[in-house]
């Protein structure tokens, strides 16, 4: 639990910065678009652990990237993450009423607003990356756009969501479950680290280290999520739990058993940290995040 003590102030600070910047990026207009701006702000502000922004900023710190620029990339990835949650929660998808302890966007507003707010956040992510305030070198910006599009598209997150829907009617084996999770949550986590490398103009070798770390942390994160789904508290999680087991879905826990899943997560975290051995103290936050990933009991 020591790592959590280190990481909590960083989480709190970044969460507050993220909210502040989204409020600036989405000022409420005094015209008929106001409701959709409110829904978009609701979807992206005031909730979540902001793990992806923390990962982006920590990866950028490895290369001493300006904090304001790193924060813009963090906002872009968080916008994509939040859009995916809003669409995922829709009645036609997972049909969830609760997210981060609050009504989901379509419950707090309506379904049409939730669809549009999600669309707006995805679009906003690319606008943020394309803006010259993110980096003066257009090549860096276009590399970020390409990486984010790939991570969030049919060969990334959306592909994973599609597999997840297919999993409702078919039992998946361990390799397929691993691939599903690598696409559904792993691809965006990988983007967080890759973005640090792009912003810092990292060497190909450094990019490989970052990819290794992201791969292992991403899977450990998902295993921890599956463990929380069977053993966590709904109050702390702020969302409905035990849905996977109820739906008969294959998870790492159902496939490996609780004990082996826990051991696998620990092994992955050790492996993730080993990828960082080329870095010094500047990688301490990434090390702390790795530990935190499997220690969170919320």
């Amino acid at each position: 639990m020591q790592a959590s003590l280190e990481i909590q102030p960083a989480i709190t600070a970044i969460a507050s910065l993220v909210d502040q910047r989204f409020a600036q990026l989405l000022p409420l207009p005094d015209d008929p678009r106001r409701l959709i701006f409110e829904a978009t702000r609701y979807a992206v502000m005031g909730g979540g652990k902001r793990m992806r922004p923390l990962l982006v900023i920590s990866a950028c710190d490895l290369f001493h990237v300006d904090r304001e620029r790193a924060l813009r990339v963090a906002l872009a990835i968080e916008a994509v993450h939040c859009y995916s949650l809003v669409h995922d929660d829709l009645p036609c998808m997972d049909d969830d009423d609760l997210r981060r302890g609050r009504p989901t966007t379509h419950k707090a507003f309506d379904e049409a607003s939730a669809v549009l707010a999600g669309d707006a956040l995805l679009t906003l992510a690319f606008e943020i990356l394309a803006h010259e305030a993110t980096h003066e070198d257009p090549r860096v910006r276009i590399d970020l756009v390409m990486a984010l599009a790939k991570a969030s598209g049919l060969d990334g997150m959306i592909g994973g969501q599609a597999m997840d829907i297919a999993a409702e009617t078919t039992m998946l084996d361990l390799p397929t479950t691993t691939r599903l999770q690598q696409l559904k949550t792993g691809a965006l986590i990988a983007f967080c680290l890759e973005a640090g490398g792009i912003m810092g103009k990292a060497s190909p070798d450094m990019h490989i280290k970052l990819r290794g770390y992201a791969h292992d942390v991403g899977l450990a994160f998902q295993i921890a999520d599956d463990l929380m789904d069977i053993g966590g508290s709904e109050e702390k999680a702020g969302k409905k739990l035990r849905k996977d087991a109820g739906a008969g879905k294959s998870t790492f826990v159902s496939l490996l058993g609780e004990e082996r899943a826990r051991a696998q997560a620990t092994m992955l975290i050790d492996q993730a940290i080993a990828h960082l051995s080329v870095f010094g103290a500047e990688a301490d936050m990434l090390r702390a995040i790795a530990h935190f990933t499997i220690e969170r009991d919320h």
Copy 2:
């Protein structure tokens, strides 16, 4: 009707190219993602007049942009247009069962697939633009990304859709209806012309001419759409008509009356063509498109 005779072969040729390229960009995978790829292909292939691709390619022709590159930009804008139709047709939005004479995507597949297919098309658009095959200069590509994000986001198309939803409960006046349409359909049409200017590295003065043309054609296009909504044939249109009047929505026709609306559209087309006076024969297709916009009886 002469202009239509000129334009039809171009429309047919581009429509076939667009379908061909989307089939290449979205090869069906042999894994659980297959259904979502099928839904995405269904949403983007085999239908529509492909007016936006035709506009992009015609605008690129002004500056002798390589046809293959222009086509990539055309695919990006068509992907965004089709995603907006898929989400717009959802039961929680316009609840349409028919589009381009075929069942809408959520009818042919299911709602979850339609949501994801729309998301995938929006993401794909940015991936296409970011790819170096679109242009070797990263500045050109990032300018395209920025322009598309703005045109399709809260200050563009999505903002217009939000106003459209608000219009269901409030009667709008002519200036607000004009603004709604400039955002909802005008912004993407403006992007088509702007993209030609970006690809062709046009002078600021040329950009102003293109913007003027796009503004006028965009509004004329919408007026023609409103006229079709009251007087067109559902069979030819391939979708349900007379919805606006039924819903008591403000349209250019309800606000101006049919005759004045028709005169306004003709005036806008003359004005659009006047913006092209600096160009020679290379702008003939844009002139023909302007005429076609208000002559189409389908």
